[in-house]
Structure formats: C-alpha cells, structure tokens
C-alpha cells in the first residue's frame, strides 16, 4: 500500500465478511461505489467513509479506505467536524432512511443548509432492516410492518423535497437495480462541490421486498420512471412515447406526436430550483392510473459557498489581522490581557 498505488475496484475490498443478507440491494451499491472511486483520481488515504447505524451503515467496514461507523443518525455532525478541520479529505456519508431521516433528521437538514462538501448516499429501503422490520419515515401510508399491524398512519417523508426545502445544493436520485445510472450519479455527486445528496432506492429483500418493483422492473420501469438529463426534454414511457410539459406550475403527461411534440416538453434545467421543487413533488404512487412518472437523475445542482471554505477564509482574515506571527508570543499576550498589575 504505497502512495503511488493505482486504486482499483478490487483493492477497495476489505478482508471483512460482508454481513448483508444475500440478495440485498446494498451489494450493488457497494459494487458501484468501488467501481467508480478509482476513476475519480482521489488517493485512497484521502477517502473517508462515515456512517451512522443501520444495514447501510455497515458500508465503511467493506471499503478499504479510512472509515467510521458511528452512532445512530449522527454521521452528518461527525462529517461536519471532520470536513471543517480537514478540507483535504473526500468524505462519503453513508446513511439510510431511518438513520438519516428519522433519528438523524435534524442533522440531515442542517448539513444540507450549511453545504459542507461531502457526498451523502441515502439508501432508502422504506423499512428498518437491522431492527427487523419496523416501518420507516419513508414507508408509505398504510404500511403493514411489525410495529404497525394495522398499517402505518405516518405520512411519509419525500426525501428529495425535504432536501430541497433545506436548500440542498445537489439533489439526485438513483436505484440499486440500475448500475449504470447509479455509477453516473455517484460520479456527479463526487464532482459537485458542496453537500451532494444522492437518494438511492434500495431493495430490502427480507423485510420490504419489491418496494420499488414498479420503478425497477423491466416490465413497468419505462412507464413509471423519468430519467432526467440537463438540457434534454422530459421524455419517458416504455418506448419513449410520453412527454411532460408544464401547465403553469403543474406538470402534465402527454402522448408525443398525438397531444404535442418534443418542442412542447419541459426541458430539464438542473440549476432551476423552482422546477427542481416541482420535479421533487412528482411523487405519485407508481402504477395508480394517471400517475406521473418518478424522476431519476440530478434534480438540482447549483454550487454555492461551501461551509469549510468560508470557515477557513474567516480564520485567514483573523490571522492576517493579528499582527503577531509567533503563536507563543500571541498566547502570552492573550493570557496577560489588557489590564495587569505587578506586586513586589
């Protein structure tokens, strides 16, 4: 493990046995991260994986980089302290829907508003896996789970909308079952300076199998999903036969060449916050007649000042103003203060 090593997907694998259930969507996410990282040109020793608690949060143990498996919900706070003091590191925050949006919901929104430069991967499986099957803050209304035998009465969070509401500078969505797209999104998240929020739909085949089936299976994916690309018209459908246009602030689906043309389509602009909000609100239950497709891709990406950079700038300013270069001398001046007296 010398400095000059070339990182490969294989060399990112640790000797630890992976403890996820066979068939879990987490495996695909791990694989895509290990595939993408070597291409980013970041030395291994500069990469840090920080997680909270939950199935997804075991992630750092399986990545041969620096890592910390912390406590439930608090990874964003740990990341903030680490990045504020070590802007040189590439920090990946691994969390889940319970960890990030329930117990860590407060830290989630504050990380986003501060815009600490890191990549937050939220594995959304709409269930508590590690504690064996309770409903989560993203579980749908009526969800029957161990703690909700008669169905959940909690209105679920819409993570993308929540992130935009917290003024996230990068919001994207992908899924475990689409490795190519997931890789693209990981690369985009890594490239964005600021907090990159990437929600990844992840199948928990033990406690919530098929939660995203309508969005991920070949037979229905085309009809229910909309893959966004900056500057491109919003087109979807099994044969790309459908378009989305904006009727005021309301998105409407229409049949291309029958009810309108490509020119009528809404053209995606990932720097448009208002439109990103509308996209994030396209959150219909897939499969229900008349429902709009679920958008995947970069909903919003607009760089704005980064927390740790502003912090460094304030320090530099204060240090330039101090006038005493030697820190011991400055410390003596600090300890003495402005009013002293001497006794003989």
């Amino acid at each position: 493990m010398a400095d000059s090593e070339t990182l490969t997907a294989k060399s990112l694998v640790t000797d630890q046995d992976i403890r996820w259930c066979p068939g879990c969507g987490d495996y695909s996410i791990l694989k895509q991260v290990q595939t993408v990282l070597p291409g980013l040109g970041i030395p291994r020793e500069k990469i840090v994986m920080i997680s909270g608690i939950g199935c997804s949060s075991r992630f750092p143990y399986y990545m041969n980089t620096y890592g910390m498996h912390s406590i439930h919900g608090r990874a964003p706070a740990i990341v903030t302290g680490l990045k504020a003091t070590r802007p040189d590191l590439s920090i990946w925050l691994i969390t889940g829907d319970g960890d990030g949006l329930s117990i860590g919901g407060n830290h989630f929104i504050h990380l986003l508003r501060r815009n600490v430069d890191c990549n937050m991967l939220l594995f959304n499986n709409q269930i508590y896996g590690l504690t064996k099957g309770q409903y989560s803050p993203t579980s749908e209304l009526g969800k029957v789970a161990k703690s909700t035998p008669l169905g959940s009465i909690d209105h679920p969070f819409n993570p993308g909308a929540l992130a935009l509401g917290a003024d996230a500078s990068f919001v994207a969505r992908s899924m475990d079952r689409d490795p190519k797209h997931l890789q693209q999104m990981l690369i985009r998240a890594a490239g964005h300076v600021g907090t990159s929020f990437l929600e990844i739909y992840q199948n928990c085949n033990i406690f919530n199998d098929g939660a995203f089936e309508a969005l991920t299976e070949k037979s229905s994916k085309g009809a229910n999903t909309l893959f966004l690309e900056h500057g491109q018209p919003l087109v979807y459908g099994m044969n790309s036969e459908l378009g989305i246009r904006l009727d005021g602030f309301t998105p409407r689906s229409f049949v291309l060449d029958l009810e309108g043309s490509l020119e009528d389509c809404w053209v995606h602009d990932e720097r448009d916050m208002v439109k990103a909000m509308i996209l994030s609100r396209m959150f219909d239950d897939p499969g229900v007649p008349g429902s709009l497709p679920r958008p995947f891709g970069v909903l919003y990406a607009m760089e704005r000042p980064v927390y740790e950079v502003m912090m460094e700038a304030q320090l530099a300013q204060a240090q330039a103003k101090r006038g005493i270069a030697d820190s011991m001398e400055a410390l003596d001046a600090l300890i003495a203060g402005s009013e002293t007296w001497t006794t003989a």
Binding site: G67, R74, I78, L315, Q317, L334, A336, W341, T343
Partner: protein, 649 residues
C-alpha cells in the same frame, strides 16, 4: 454563629480621613436591566488593579428581562475585596446597593447589622413598593434603623448631569449605574481611570454615549465629595500577594484561555463544537473571537451534533472540544460512549448548573458528578476532572487537554456557574512555562508488514496511536461496535469483549501514574478531621479551615482535581484522619463515589440551594464532627468562633 469575616472587618483604624478596613463585601442589586453586572464587574477590575485580593459572585435571574421592579427580576453582584487572602465572596455583605425596592427586599437579610445601604430613592415610588410587596416605604417607616443610609435620587441626578446632552431620556437613564459606581469609588477611594478606559473602548463607535457615561461616573464621585461630608470613607489596602504580575479572570474566560493554550502548546488546531447553553456559552463566545489562533468554532444544531462534530474533528487530528451544561451533558451521553470506544482525545466541558431537567439555569450546583463518572450505557470509563476556582479553570482544562491527547481518551472537565461567572486575581503563567503536550501520531512506519496497520495496538500505558486520515498505509475502520483487540475489526467474541472492557478500564486507571498525588492544602498532615472537597467549594473550605485553625481546631483541607482516576495516595492520605467530611453543593455525590471505592466512613455535608456554601455553616458542621470525636473537650463553635474572629492573620 457570627460571621467570621464581619468580625475581622471590624478591626478598623483611622488613616487620615479614611477608616482602614481589612475586608469589605459589597452587593450591587437592581433590576436585571439596571446594569448591576457591569457595575460589579467594573468595581472588581478596579479592586484588582488596586491590588486587593478578591472573589465575586454574580447572581442573576434566568430571564433576560424579568418583569421590571419585581423580586424575580432582581440581579445581583457580590464582591469581597481585601488586604488579606480572600477565598469566598462572603456569607453576608457590609454594603448593599439597591437600585429599587425589590432589590432591597431581596437582599436586606444578607446585610450585616449596622451595614451601609446605598439606595436609589427613585426606585421606591408607589409602583416599585407595590411590586416589591412593601406595605409602607422602608425609606420612611423607620424599618431601616440600625443601618447607615445613603439615599440619593440617582435617576434625577443622572438626568441633571446630562441636561446639556442631546440624548433621549431613555439613553440618559441607561448610565444611572455609573453614578452609583462613581459614588462607591469615592467611598472606597478607588481610581476611576480603568473604568473610564473601559467605557471609552466599549463606546468607541459612540463618543456621545461615552461622554455621558464618563460624566455620570464623575458626577457620582463628586456627589460623594460634596454632599457626604460627614460620611466615613474607607481604605482597603492592597493585599500582600506573592510577587508577580496579576490580572483579573473569570472561570469561563480562564477555561477558554486554557483551551487556546493547550492548542498552542500541543500544536493541534482546536475545534469547538458547541450549542448555546447557560452558563457555558461564554466559552463559545470567547473561542469564536480567537480565530487568529487557528481556532474553529462550530455552533451546532443541537448538543448531540456539537459533541459529534468534535469527535469528527478529533478523528481528523484536531483538538476536539465541546462545551455544555447539565441538560446538554445528558444529550451528549451516547456520543461520549462512542468517543470511549473510538479511543480518541476529546474534552467535554460541563459548566454545571442546578438541575434536574432545566432546573435553575443561572444557579450553581455540583450535581453532574455522578453523571460524569457513571452516566453512560455499558462499561464506559473516562477521565473526570474538576476546577476549583476561576483561575484554576485555566490549569485544570489545560491538564484535561494534556491527558486527553496523551492518553487518547475523552476527558470530562467540570466547572460550575459559580466558577464560570466569578472573578479573582490571577498570577498568570507564561506560555513557555506551560508543560508541552505531546500527541502520539501513527506514521506509515506503524503499519505491520504482515498484519497491516493495527489501530488498537497499545503501548505500555495501554494507549493506542492517533492515526488520522490522509496517511497512506494506515487506512482503517473504527466504530461503536465492539472491536477485536489490536485489529479493531468487529468482534462478537465473548472473551474478547471482556478483555476490551478490562483494557479500556485499565487504561483510565493507569492515568493515576501520570497525575500528581493529592496534598493537604491547609492544616495538619494528620489528625481528627479532613475536609475533602472538589470543585467550587474550594474557597469556602479554605476560609472555613483557616478560621477553624485560628480558633484552635486542627482541621485539614484537601481538594480533589482528579476524580477519575483518583490520585494514587488518596486512600493513604485519608487514613491519617479520623474523620473525613465531604462538603458538596448537591445531595451527596462525591461521597457516594468515595464509599464506592474505600471501605471507611465519610461524613457528608450538603447544601442544594443554588448558591455557594456558607463558610459559617461549614464551620459548624466541622465542629459538630469534632464534637462527636471528643464530646467533653470542645466548648462549642459559637464562643470559639468569636475568639477566632479576634485573631485576624
């Protein structure tokens, strides 16, 4: 029993126009909007510059602007200044300054018989009297007979002084407190320059306001000169303190400063993660204004984020600090456990206040000790230390940082509201005289050629190396799950878990080999009674033991800075005394920990009133214990203590 220091203070002698006093206690009291904290603070600075020894006790309501004129809204500041060593702000005061009827009512019982009252007559109108619950005006009904009264209409005279100033009445009234300060400067023959300089700096951007305050300060001084021709003026000579350079310091300032010093002397950048909470916020403010030292402060979204950010910073190689008070400590508990598991350096500053729950946010208490020592899930040992006075907070928090860094462990530093806000003169150290702090970082050479890097390999002190991200070859994963010895990999092995629990415990206990032994602070090296204190009771214990010894009682005093681990010699030191009295501002916490460790008896002495211990009560308790020792021998405290009062030293 009569108050010791009162009796001592009575030994006066005329010196020119002045009566010389050895020790004086003044209490400033008014509405929380009357600026009494600032007035007291200014009087304190000047007393320090004059060379008096001193101790202060600010006492204010939790509400920023409690209803004007009510008892709930009274804010007070007590200062004890003297030409001899001072240990406490005083059980009672010689001078009470009351800006209104409520301030008088709330504090009169603390004024010594025959004491001096400085009263603002404008604060005794019908409305003020009603709000304070006075049926008749104490200025007129004779109820203040026996005190020396200085009644003045401060509001009116302030306005008159400023009649030529183009300020609103409201702005003019804001400098009322300066009139009172000027009057007291006259009464105690103090120079005004330091306060004038302070005002000039404070109102640098507003020269008109500075001029007004300065004018009112001078007017108060001259008022004394012209109208109180028959009043007595006093002199309190400088105290004989060890030669050297001094400054005045509060506990929170000293804590902030000690942290900066630890950062400089360790070469580690300091990161503070903090959430505002009374009475700890000033440390956040202090450090936020010290960015030129490379200090990063982060006002987190909550207490948990505050400590977790500090853990993140510590993982990255910074000196991670978090500051809080009791309710925040409770919230940080789980993260402290993580820091124990990660074995990273971290200093948690708990500026205790009265609890439980929100409790009495502005009142002092020592009631987080059990929480600090025991209050985490699992077997979760860490280091616990306590400061004993405002200036001692510097040294103690510095030492807390040294232990955290050199022993790779979280350390809880305990202070409290009384230390935090209290001030005292401090013979401050030079940066170069502070012991250097040596972090032990892992380097690429620490990677084992066969097994790779072992993050939990330990040295003979059981300390692991600090391996920060960024070094090729040291990549490793740490976390809150139990880890295999040396490798740090997740391990559910039963024997390994037991081993790790013992290792973490032994690591903390071994720190006892690297801290000083406990010594007797005052009194005989062996005997009938030892007062064993910790934290902010130091001043009261010192004054009580001084006076007990002067009265012929051989009582010793030792004060613990290190509570976990205890100093090595604690048991043998205690064994030299028949009785150990443990005074605390709580319901008996150190005494429980002592009982947990040592098979001997301890006598608890507890007060839980949100205020510092009273010396008189503590002396009584000590004598009660001694009486139990030799019931026939002692004649009782009352007569003995009066004797003691006659022997100032």
């Amino acid at each position: 029993m009569p108050d010791q220091e009162t009796t001592n203070r009575a030994s006066t002698s005329p010196a020119g126009d002045f009566v010389v006093r050895e020790e004086v206690v003044i209490k400033f009291a008014g509405d929380s909007g009357d600026g009494m904290q600032l007035t007291g603070g200014q009087f304190t600075n000047t007393a320090a510059l004059v060379g008096n020894d001193l101790a202060t006790f600010p006492d204010f309501p939790a509400e920023i602007r409690a209803p004007v004129g009510t008892l709930a809204g009274v804010s007070g500041f007590q200062i004890n200044f003297a030409s001899r060593p001072v240990f406490t702000p005083g059980d009672s005061c010689d001078v009470l300054v009351a800006m209104n009827a409520a301030a008088l009512k709330a504090n009169l019982s603390g004024l010594v018989p025959g004491g001096e009252l400085v009263l603002n007559s404008d604060g005794f109108d019908a409305k003020n009297l009603r709000l304070a619950g006075y049926a008749s005006n104490p200025l007129e009904d004779g109820s203040l007979e026996g005190f020396t009264l200085h009644v003045m209409d401060v509001t009116k005279m302030t306005r008159e002084t400023l009649q030529d100033y183009t300020l609103s009445t409201k702005e003019k009234d804001r400098s009322k407190n300066m009139f009172v300060l000027g009057f007291l400067y006259w009464m105690y023959d103090r120079p005004m320059q330091s306060s004038l300089d302070f005002l000039a700096a404070k109102f640098k951007k507003d020269p008109a306001i500075y001029e007004a305050n300065a004018a009112v300060l001078r007017a108060g001084y001259h008022y004394g000169d012209t109208t109180e021709t028959f009043a007595t003026r006093y002199k309190v000579e400088p105290a004989k303190m060890p030669p050297g350079r001094y400054r005045s310091i509060t506990g929170n300032e000293a804590t902030g400063m000690g942290l900066v010093a630890a950062s400089v002397r360790s070469g580690l950048p300091l990161f503070l993660g903090s959430y505002p909470i009374t009475p700890a916020s000033e440390i956040l403010h202090y450090l936020a204004a010290r960015k030129s030292f490379g200090i990063k402060t982060f006002q987190a979204e909550d207490e948990i984020a505050a400590i977790c950010s500090a853990i993140g910073a510590a993982f990255g190689g910074s000196l991670g600090i978090t500051t809080t008070s009791g309710p925040g400590m409770a919230l940080k508990t789980e993260a402290m456990g993580l820091a124990v598991m990660l074995e990273l350096p971290l200093v948690i500053c708990d500026i205790q206040r009265a609890g439980p729950s929100t409790g009495l946010p502005t009142k002092t208490e020592q009631s987080d000790l059990l929480q600090a020592v025991y209050g985490r899930n699992g077997e979760c040992p860490l280091v616990v230390m306590a400061a004993h006075s405002p200036s001692d907070a510097f040294e103690t928090v510095y030492e807390a940082c040294r232990i955290a860094v050199e022993h790779m462990t979280p350390v809880i530093f305990l202070s409290d509201g009384y230390i935090a806000n209290g001030a005292e003169p401090w013979q401050f150290p030079q940066a170069a005289d502070l012991p250097a702090i040596h972090p032990v970082f892992a380097t690429a050479a620490d990677a084992d050629p066969e097994r790779g890097f072992l993050p939990y390999r330990r040295d003979e002190r059981l300390v692991r190396k600090w391996a920060v991200p960024g070094i090729a070859g040291l990549e490793h994963r740490i976390g809150g799950l139990e880890k295999q010895n040396e490798t740090g990999n997740i391990s559910y092995d039963p024997m390994n878990h037991e081993l790790m629990v013992h290792l973490r415990e032994a690591k903390i206990e071994r720190i006892a080999d690297f801290i000083p032994e406990l010594r007797i602070d005052q009194g005989p090296e062996e005997g009938d009674l030892l007062l064993l204190g910790w934290g902010s009771t130091f001043g009261t214990c010192s004054a009580a033991v001084r006076d007990l010894n002067a009265a012929g009682y051989g009582v010793a005093h030792a004060h613990l800075r290190h509570i976990r681990p205890f100093p090595r010699n604690l048991e043998s030191l205690m064994s030299r005394f028949k009785h150990v009295l443990v005074p605390e501002i709580n319901n008996g916490q150190l005494v429980r920990i002592l009982r947990d460790h040592f098979p001997r008896t301890f006598v608890p002495f507890n007060r839980i009133q949100g205020i510092p211990l009273r010396k008189s009560e503590l002396m009584q308790a000590a004598v009660d214990v001694l009486r139990g020792v030799d019931a026939a021998g002692q004649t009782g405290l009352h007569s003995s203590a009066s004797n003691a009062g006659g022997t100032p030293h």
